[in-house]
């Protein structure tokens, strides 16, 4: 997952440099520890640079979730807000950092949906998320659509 994210940062910087620069500016100086299932990595941001690192100094923000939660958010079965409110996705840190993280995430997604090379990256991300997803989503069933209630 960390490798995919690093690849996506590169694609964003190459294909939509303005969005990449804005994301880096919004998250400048922030450090985020990400735990998705058993995987753990760090995000670091500086002007014009977004890095994914396997180790490093302590982060001010911790983001903790599972691949299945990410799959549900990507497929709109679960909104980001509900994921946070129900602790399916935990984010811990000072409020200004959390707000910056949200702004940076929105900028990243706006860039991602415009980058020509993101559709195959998204397909790979979905595949990785589904590796851990229980078979709770029968095709055509309630859980397989994109509905938010």
């Amino acid at each position: 997952m960390g490798a995919l994210l690093a690849e996506s940062f590169l694609a964003l910087s190459r294909e939509l440099p303005a969005q990449h620069a804005l994301m880096c500016e919004q998250l400048q100086g922030r450090r985020v520890e990400v735990c998705v299932g058993a995987e753990r990595f760090f995000l670091g941001f500086a002007p014009g640079s977004a890095r994914v690192e396997s180790a490093g100094p302590p982060a001010e923000v911790l983001l903790l979730t599972g691949r299945r939660v990410l799959a549900d958010v990507l497929d709109a079965r679960l909104s980001l807000t509900r994921a946070v409110l129900t602790d399916a996705l935990e984010v811990v840190g000072p409020l200004p950092s959390l707000m910056a993280l949200h702004d940076g995430l929105v900028t990243y997604v706006h860039g991602a949906v415009r980058c020509p090379s993101f559709p195959p990256l998204l397909a790979r991300l979905r595949a990785v998320c589904r590796e851990d997803a229980a078979p709770h989503s029968p095709p055509g069933g309630e859980a397989h659509g994109s509905r938010e209630r």
Partner: protein, 355 residues
Amino acid sequence: MRRQDSHGGLLTDLAELLPRLDYFRRSPARLGGRGGHKEWQYFLVNAGAVHLLINFSLQDDPWAADARRAEVARLTLLALGEEWQGGLERFPEAEVHVSPGCIDARFGASTLRFEQGRYLLDVSLREHSLAAELELVPMMRPLLFNNHPLAPGENLSWVVVPRLEARGTVTLGGRTHRVEGAPAYHDHNWGHFRWGGDFSWEWAHALPSDAAHPWSAVFVRMMDRRRTRVRYQSLFLWRSGGPVRTFRDRDIRLLHQGHFQPARRLTVPPEMALLAPGLACDLPAHMELAATSGADSFHFRFDAEELARVITPGESEPRTVSVLNELSGRVVSHGCIGGEPFELEATGIYELIRD
């Protein structure tokens, strides 16, 4: 040699006419011409228990590195039973074959062809248990609108076939529904414009449960993006094969009533829900349209029931989206054209653009 048909030669005429009007244009950018081209072939089928929306779309990706290879193929396939289901899928160049000048497209395993006066659709989604194999026979003469202005320097052309007769199968969630003589609608749009440009539209159409009902109506209203100014609006009526009446601009009064508050809604592609979260929406619960001109009159009431949203990144500004709201609901309509009164109860789609 002309085939004999039971509609006074209408089907034969349509079989000859439609390939000359409804063919895929494709982007001039492929040949070094103007980019920003968009085109889609859209079908609605009232298949009884399931309503189907099918859209074969080609549009130039404004962020593509090579403008000559910027055209992106997307298939939207939505089914409305008790609620909307389905998805939007895009296809890599290697899986797309579209013949310019013909009604002939292959997007992955899904195909659209026009043969012997019939549209042949064989569509399926990779990620959902939703598929359809349909033959649609046009039953009314089309209208063609060329280069209608959307915004300064932006335009849209349109072929509309308001009534077709569908037969075949729709498979949803592992259950196959037989379709026989079902009413259907088709249009084809193409032009140069940017999502998020200075325009928005409202469009409405209704498909009666009785395919033999002789009347068909299409409404379209074009506005500026903020919806403070109506640039033009039209209501087109067909009866038994041909167009019979058009109401325009000041002939038409449109009233939005109430505020639609959906209990649920479908978003395609689903990841776009990250940029347009929540259930709040700026949509009317009811729409009432009245048109009068001379002795002719038409009244149309739409009551919203279910919502599907097709969301596209805004192309004018970096942090915007354009939302095509496909609002389904009940339609009750009546009118009197040329001294002939009529009534219609139907299931309708009301499409509204919102940012």
